[in-house]
Symmetry: C2
């Protein structure tokens, strides 16, 4: 993966953000990342093929929801919480609260230490 293109705060659009956040797996990824910090892609567990997970991570990145960083052969991802709160005040918190209430995306998680 080449260093990925990320939209600036000004380039983010509401329609792309809403579409990115309208899928249970992507909402689950956002919930996991909202617990803080950067995560290696290899740590993420979701009941989908690796190529599908990669696609979901790209959709989130292209919408400005997450930031992806490559270091050697490893990729890392984090939530762009401050940028999202700046561009779409209140949106992320509302989505996370609703997702918690419904347990949307609870099939997404992190690998346990021993699994990596």
């Amino acid at each position: 993966m080449k260093q990925a293109r990320h939209p600036s705060v000004d380039e983010m659009t509401l329609v792309a953000a809403m579409a990115a956040l309208s899928d249970p797996i992507r909402i689950g990824l956002v919930r996991v990342l909202s617990r803080g910090g950067e995560r290696g892609w290899g740590e993420l567990r979701a009941p989908v093929a690796k190529s599908t997970l990669s696609h979901h991570l790209k959709v989130l990145r292209d919408a400005g929801i997450t930031r992806t960083r490559q270091e050697g052969i490893r990729c890392y991802v984090e939530l762009r919480r401050a940028d999202l709160d700046l561009r779409f005040p209140g949106l992320l918190d509302a989505v996370l609260a609703a997702a918690d209430g419904e347990d949307v995306g609870d099939q997404v998680g992190l690998a346990r230490e021993g699994d990596r």
Copy 2:
């Protein structure tokens, strides 16, 4: 149109609401309806075919965003603001604020008195 089925507040899902609100025409309809009250379908102006507008109104209704009522041969639609605020606190306000900022869906409007 038969009297349409509307999801109860408990039946609404975050994924369906986010998907319904990820289209500029549908966001425009929600913005128009957010200005208050019930509107006749014939009052709504959008740069799409009538069948497409009808589809968008169905997507909004099925997600619980709007309520549709038939009276004789006329259909009316209103925003389910209280239900949305109950089910997804803060979501509608965040979407409307972001949509205002970006002018998303500003191609949707209401017919002027003389046009009806």
